[in-house]
């Protein structure tokens, strides 16, 4: 085998320029795929992280029908104390869950005594909210989550700007409860909260106890339960353990709860899907590049060396050894391209990280991409390239092995 490798390697060097060109083509292809995968992976991870860690959580539970009418923040589709208890029981048993938090959502009128507007609000328990959504506090303008005490409000940045309210100003929230009775309360502005992309990304926050006061609720009510998992990749397993909730029915035989993974709740998941399809398409393009370029080089190689193949066959080289000689040549091109391409990709990714590429998404500016190349991805691309090189070499190698030595020797 050592000698086959030696001879194949020297044969590659024989047409040095062609070898370099083909190997570079494969190298560039590998590099392109890996750098793209690193960048899109980092973008996906960043955006998914943003969506799940600052607003959505990984899983949400609502009363059946809530999501369908989420835009008008219905108050008649809240979960009652008994239902909450049932959910809590199941969540506490679920080993995949890190933490969870309750939200009571409502729409109110927001007034600064001069003008008024509509605002969507989340009633939260700030401590649980911060635990379940680690990026929540990063959206707050220089204040801590504990600043959201009872009687205070976190105003969405855009509304704060439009209504010209700032920290420590007093505002009035007016809400209508389920029975139609209107109530207003004064709130102190604790600070502003940055908008993020996705549903609920421009909502304000008050303490959950204040919602109860505002709506004059006699008992506990919750409109959504937000769950954070210990490991986001275990989403399917965690969802499976929550299945009893989706299957739970009331006395009328109708389902009571709806359980959704973040993928169902965020439109960003479609972008993720699109990025994955693009990932795949680029890999297919790479496969074609490798296939065509190696096939081309190997076919040329065989045609140029017909007489030589005739000579070694006449001397007694078996067809299988001739096949191996040419397969090794193709394989070496592929291996070279895969290795050099991977090394260059690591260097480019390192440079991108050192330079720092920033991008904007929606209303968010200055997001920095931190691309990383997973060893897994490098191995997958490497194996694809090497496998395709081998496949591309099979036909020319077999042609070489099948040559009749007499005919081959007659060629000039």
């Amino acid at each position: 085998m050592k000698n086959i490798i030696k001879i194949s390697f020297r044969n590659l060097l024989r047409s040095g320029r062609r070898t370099v060109l083909t190997a570079s083509l494969i190298t560039i292809g590998v590099m392109f795929v890996l750098v793209y995968a690193a960048l899109s992976g980092s973008f996906k991870e960043y955006m998914v992280g943003q969506v799940t860690d600052s607003m959505l959580g990984h899983i949400q539970i609502h009363k059946k029908g809530y999501i369908a009418s989420v835009d008008n923040l219905p108050l008649d589709k809240n979960l009652n104390a008994k239902q909450i208890e049932k959910i809590t029981e199941l969540l506490d048993e679920n080993k995949f869950i890190e933490s969870y938090t309750f939200r009571l959502k409502l729409g109110t009128m927001f007034s600064n005594y001069v003008a008024s507007t509509n605002i969507r609000l989340n009633g939260i328990d700030p401590e649980n909210e911060a635990k379940t959504l680690p990026l929540f506090s990063s959206r707050l303008d220089g204040i801590d989550t504990t600043a959201l005490k009872e009687g205070s409000i976190l105003v969405p940045e855009l509304i704060a700007k439009g209504m010209k309210v700032k920290k420590d100003d007093t505002v009035v929230l007016v809400a209508t409860n389920q029975k139609g009775s209107v109530n207003g309360l004064n709130f102190k502005v604790a600070g502003t909260i940055e908008p993020i992309s996705g549903p609920g990304g421009r909502d304000g926050y008050i303490h959950i106890n204040d919602v109860k006061k505002l709506l004059r609720l006699k008992e506990v009510e919750v409109s959504e339960v937000v769950i954070r998992l210990k490991d986001a990749s275990k989403l399917e397993q965690a969802m499976k353990l929550l299945k009893p909730l989706s299957e739970f029915k009331n006395q009328k035989g109708k389902p009571v709860f709806e359980v959704h993974a973040w993928k169902k709740l965020s439109p960003f998941y479609n972008i993720v899907k699109m990025l994955n399809i693009m990932d795949m398409s680029i890999k297919i393009i790479l496969i074609s590049i490798v296939l065509i370029s190696i096939l081309n080089v190997m076919v040329m190689s065989v045609y140029e060396r017909i007489k030589e193949i005739g000579t070694i066959a006449a001397m007694g080289t078996t067809p299988s050894t001739i096949t191996k000689l040419f397969l090794t040549e193709g394989l070496m091109l592929g291996i070279f391209g895969a290795i050099v391409g991977s090394i260059l990709s690591y260097i480019i990714v390192f440079i991108i990280n050192a330079v720092g590429i920033t991008f904007s998404f929606g209303r968010q500016d200055g997001l920095t991409l931190n691309p990383t190349l997973s060893l897994n991805e490098v191995l997958v691309v490497g194996v694809i390239v090497i496998l395709i090189s081998l496949i591309a070499s099979i036909s020319p190698a077999r042609k070489a092995a099948k040559l009749n030595p007499v005919d081959a020797l007659r060629q000039n």
Binding site: N3, I4, I7, R10, N11, L13, R14, K307, E308, G310, T311, I312, A313, A314, M315, G316, T317, T318, P319, S320, T321, N404, P405, V406, L409
Partner: protein, 228 residues
């Protein structure tokens, strides 16, 4: 050693059958130094290819060393050639990516799989025999025609073949070099009792051999032995 019985070779040229060799019966003994001569198109090279196990006859038997080689498949035939047969070509056919030493080494590693010490012993001896020891690290394109043919001869002999087939081995060489090469082959034949079979036009070879087989239109018209 070599015995052909009723061998014929027919090529299909479209609709027409072209008979190149007709009912060839030939016996060649071990250690003979034979030339097959005849005009172009007489079938010299075809006979060489048939005897050298590169081609199979359309009819008849080719027995070499007691084995009917027409019954062997491609791989077995390749192995048979690697063991028993050496080839010397008109245009030398050295492998351009290997140097002199490696070209001679090729059949020993790719075909016979000999260990390194034995290889080196054989190659160094042959390099001395063909007077190419000081050129052993050069590549074929750095050598003259005569030097290349010496390397090709060494390569053909390194496997210790019983028969060496040489198709016009001197056609690309000048008179002096041709004479040197013929003398070299003659010496080897005498020393190792190797059978040499030439297909040639070259008078210099014809006058050097022990037996001349004349072929015209695929038929042996003359077979004479010359007392040396």
């Amino acid at each position: 050693m070599i015995s052909n019985k009723h061998v014929s070779k027919v090529y299909k040229m479209g609709e027409v059958d072209l008979t190149v060799i007709k009912d060839l019966n030939l016996e060649i003994e071990h250690g003979e130094f034979v030339a097959i001569v005849g005009p172009s198109g007489s079938g010299k090279s075809t006979v060489l290819n048939l005897l050298g196990c590169l081609d199979k006859p359309s009819n008849g038997k080719v027995m070499i060393d007691g084995i009917d080689v027409t019954q062997l498949d491609t791989t077995a035939l390749a192995n048979f050639r690697g063991e028993k047969i050496g080839f010397i070509f008109q245009s030398f056919n050295l492998i351009p990516v290997l140097n002199v030493y490696e070209n001679i080494e090729y059949p020993l590693i790719m075909i016979q799989n000999l260990d390194k010490q034995e290889r080196e012993k054989r190659i160094m001896q042959l390099l001395k025999d063909v007077d190419m020891l000081d050129q052993k690290d050069k590549f074929p394109d750095q050598l003259s025609g005569g030097q290349r043919q010496r390397v090709a001869i060494a390569r053909a002999l390194v496997t210790k073949p019983k028969i060496v087939f040489a198709d016009e081995p001197t056609a690309n060489l000048d008179t002096d070099t041709s004479n040197q090469i013929i003398t070299l082959m003659r010496n080897i034949q005498r020393e190792f009792n190797t059978t040499f079979i030439f297909a040639t036009h070259d008078e210099k070879i014809v006058t050097a051999v022990d037996r001349i087989i004349t072929l015209i239109d695929g038929v042996i018209t003359d077979d004479k032995r010359i007392a040396s």
